[in-house]
């Protein structure tokens, strides 16, 4: 059985390393600040005992006033999992750092989020539309897209 790690415990570990990086944490919830995302992600992947080396999926949710990007990580070795989230409040030009350098599996999924939500991932090598064509107006999975 895959054991979900407690968001609180992991949050305290991250907070210890990078003070001021955690926005919110509870048993099954862990939100980090966008500018600390890459550091936190590297920490989660490389720390002994966490070893979250498998990125199951990345997705985004539109909450009207902000976007929430969800990363579901798991470790094949210890068989545990963790969800971390990052928020962006800018609707016109939302930006987050890309995690492609850490988990290559994020490559196509981040492009997908860019296409359907319009969230830009910095340092992604090929930040282009993936499903829709260049010149398509709008981002279909936003809640205000008709």
């Amino acid at each position: 059985m895959t054991i979900p790690l407690s968001g609180k415990d992991v949050a305290s570990k991250i907070e210890e390393k990078f003070p001021g990086s955690v926005v919110e944490s509870s048993q099954d919830n862990l939100v980090v600040k966008g500018n600390f995302l890459l550091d936190a992600a590297r920490f989660l992947r490389d720390t002994e005992g966490l070893d979250l080396d498998f990125l199951n999926f990345v997705t985004a949710v539109d909450y009207y006033d902000h976007f929430e990007v969800v990363y579901w990580l798991s470790s094949l070795e210890h068989n545990h999992s963790l969800t971390i989230k990052a928020r962006c409040y800018d609707r016109e030009n939302p930006v987050l750092p890309s995690v492609v350098g850490l988990w290559q599996g994020a490559d196509l999924q981040e492009r997908e989020i860019f296409d359907l939500f319009g969230i830009k991932f910095e340092d992604h090598p090929n930040m282009k539309r993936i499903f829709l064509w260049e010149g398509f107006a709008g981002h279909p999975l936003r809640k205000d897209f008709i």
Binding site: G101, P125, R129, F131
Partner: protein, 205 residues
Amino acid sequence: MEIKPAGKYIYSDIELDREEGQVIEDLKANSQEPIPDPDRWLDEKLEQNILLTTVDALINWGRRSSLWTAICFPACCAFEMIAANGPRFDLARFGMEILRASPRQADLMITAGTLTWKMAPNVRRIYNQMAEPKWVIAMGACAISGGIFASAEYAVVPGYNRIIPVDVYVPGCPPRPEALIYGIQMLQQKIARRKNIDVRKLLER
């Protein structure tokens, strides 16, 4: 673990994508109305519709008994299409066991699956590449009207008849292979009534 930088790949130029996008947008703007059924054109010009010579009958027999299919299988219906080709339903009985990868060697297009606007220019091109005379069977609800995905208007074309003229519609989601075979038989009947040689023109000569 050593991870190679992601920048090592070759990426295509964004200009190329823009051009392709422009083609799609143009096609979308130009195909808001369905293309009428070719049958109706036949009705308007009556003389095209009457079979006169036995040569016609012979040509039509040849054409309808060796319909070769072009590959255009975007989505789920394709599997029923392949199943119809497969061992149980055996489409070879109708002289059409061959799926042609090249549209230039085909005279029937079975459009098995949802058509999206991004795909539409390619389907139009395949259709244009097929040699005359050519026919189209729209297979499945998606091919007829967009089906279950019709409300995702931003991506899905509501029916192939916006892009290419369709001869026979086979409903179902997906249609059973038997239904497809019935549709093919209808098309064969249609071909049998087609006039190929214009006698008046021959007499004038």
